[in-house]
């Protein structure tokens, strides 16, 4: 467990949403969402676009304050934390943003080094060595001095992945990591996710994606959102008994077999 871990019972879950609700001007985007993430597991968060998946991830990371329910991370209710404590808890998170969210005024190396430098206790030589090593692992050794505007979409995703995982966090939230990428690059991204999760056996992850085929390789459990509500939670073996909307999404044929 990370430095962010605090005493308190949390049933073994590192991250838990309890009756989570979030509303914007147009109404409720999330309603009564319950979700638990345990150490070492990778949960696939699926559903159609605009049904609240990204909003849920932001609530889980404390980037959005819920309007109902609560988010408990490492035994602590995020809504009750001071900004300093929340920042400390967030050190145990990694977040891969849908739109890359690379700092466009920094080079690739500085982007990746940023979370390490923010911790303040890292030796600069060690930071540089680690950044080079991690970028080399994803085939971006030659891109250290480039700026995000000089990278392709797939390269930006890889940099985002490395930045989110360079601190070896306990929880990693992947928001549609293959969005807008071609099938080959998407496969590489999911391979990288699997490799990053293997690096830290105890780390847990939530992966938002529409790419069910590639998620099958890494996810043991799925949560499906529809209009902001959880309509399915379970493994692939549970899909056959789920409502039609769920089996359709999982591309189940009439015989109850995953295609």
């Amino acid at each position: 467990m990370s430095a962010a871990a605090a005493p308190g019972a949390h049933d073994g879950a590192v991250l838990r949403a309890e009756g989570l609700g979030k509303r914007f001007a147009g109404g409720w985007v999330l309603e009564g969402v319950d979700l638990a993430l345990h150490p070492g597991e990778i949960v696939g968060l699926v559903g159609q676009g605009g049904h609240g998946k990204s909003v849920l991830l932001k609530c889980l990371a404390g980037l959005l304050a819920p309007d109902a329910g609560r988010v408990v991370a490492f035994g602590e209710d995020l809504a009750t934390l001071s900004s300093v404590r929340l920042a400390k808890v967030r050190e145990a998170y990694g977040y891969v943003f849908q739109n890359y969210a690379l700092f466009d005024f920094m080079t690739v190396a500085d982007n990746v080094a940023f979370p390490l430098r923010q911790r303040g206790d890292a030796d600069e030589r060690a930071v540089k060595a680690l950044v080079r090593e991690r970028l080399a692992e994803v085939g971006l050794a030659a891109a250290v001095g480039l700026y995000p505007r000089e990278l392709s979409g797939g390269m930006k995703k890889r940099v985002g992945l490395v930045r989110a995982t360079v601190t070896d966090p306990d929880v990693i939230l992947y928001d549609d990591p293959s969005a807008g990428l071609d099938p080959v690059t998407s496969s590489k991204i999911f391979e990288l996710i699997a490799r990053m999760q293997e690096r830290r056996a105890g780390s847990a992850a939530i992966v938002v994606s529409h790419d069910i085929d590639r998620m099958r390789a890494i996810c043991a459990r799925y949560v499906m959102l529809e209009r902001g509500r959880v309509v399915f939670e379970g493994g692939e073996e549970d899909v056959a008994g789920a409502p039609r909307a769920v089996s359709d999404f999982f591309d189940l044929d009439g015989a109850g077999v995953l295609a």
Binding site: G32, A61, A68, R90, F97, N99, D104, F114, R229
Partner: protein, 275 residues
């Protein structure tokens, strides 16, 4: 798992409630905006006093606010000096053809009013729009969220260096603006109205309170312009349209802030110094 949480839809407002909403909405919107500006100002001050603004970032922002505005300020204040002296001298010529006090009055007016305020308005449009667009685009591309996830406070990282850079550079630009406008006015006075340069360059009317007033205005503009603009940028929502709205809002709000501060500080000066 299926959750069944039902939320009753809110009842539609009655006619008198709708009337109150229509009349009060602009005021509450302005109130919310001001509250947000003040909260951001306190957060930025806290970051500055904690020494959280990086020195390199402050120097970069000071360069962006100061050095990059030099041509803009030179052109604007130069023309203002020319126009002001021409208009006033033309009036004097018709009523009382004595230009002995023109330069002294012009320099006093520049120091206490026009140089800081016109500089403030120019910085509000040039720098304020830039700050709102830059921070707004960082918000809509989730870079601000990424900062938070990397344990970096956006106020410390984005707002405090801009505030410090601007607080240092706007007074400097105002002093430069006095110089430019005075030289331009003096040149025109000499060329068109035969006013001797030594007569024009008179500090007879400039008193301590005039200098204090001009500097207080410049420092205030330097502090509030990046605050108001950054607040507009941080409030941006949606995509590029949201950034556009944030930029427009920043220009309007910062320009309004400069005019309002000018009025408030001038009024306070009258009460304190009777000038």
């Amino acid at each position: 798992m299926v959750n069944d949480v039902h939320v009753a839809p809110p009842a539609p407002p009655r006619w008198y409630e709708s009337l109150f909403i229509a009349v009060g909405a602009p005021f509450t919107a302005v109130g919310r905006e001001l509250r947000g500006d003040v909260a951001l100002a306190f957060a930025a001050l806290g970051a500055i006093f904690r020494g959280a603004a990086g020195r390199r970032a402050v120097v970069q922002q000071a360069y962006a606010v100061g050095n990059r505005s030099l041509f803009f300020i030179t052109a604007t204040l130069g023309f203002l000096g020319l126009i002001s002296v021409y208009q006033v001298a033309t009036q004097i010529q018709q009523i009382l053809p004595d230009f002995s006090m023109l330069g002294a009055a012009f320099i006093q007016l520049m120091i206490r009013e026009f140089a800081p305020t016109i500089t403030g308005l120019m910085i509000a449009t040039r720098v304020g729009s830039g700050i709102a667009a830059e921070i707004g685009s960082m918000v809509v591309t989730e870079q601000v969220d990424a900062l938070r996830m990397c344990n970096a406070d956006p106020v410390e990282y984005l707002v405090a260096p801009r505030v410090l850079g601007s607080v240092v550079m706007v007074p400097m630009l105002s002093i430069y603006a006095v110089l430019v406008a005075t030289l331009a006015g003096m040149a025109l006075g000499h060329a068109v109205f035969d006013i001797p340069t030594q007569t024009f360059l008179s500090l007879r009317l400039v008193k301590g309170p005039d200098i204090v007033l001009g500097l207080v205005k410049a420092v205030s503009y330097g502090f509030w312009i990046p605050i108001v603009a950054a607040h507009a940028g941080l409030s941006a929502t949606g995509g590029s349209a949201g950034v556009g709205w944030a930029t427009t809002r920043a220009v309007v709000a910062t320009s309004f802030a400069v005019v309002l501060l000018d009025f408030v500080i001038s009024g306070a000066s009258y009460v304190i110094f009777s000038v």
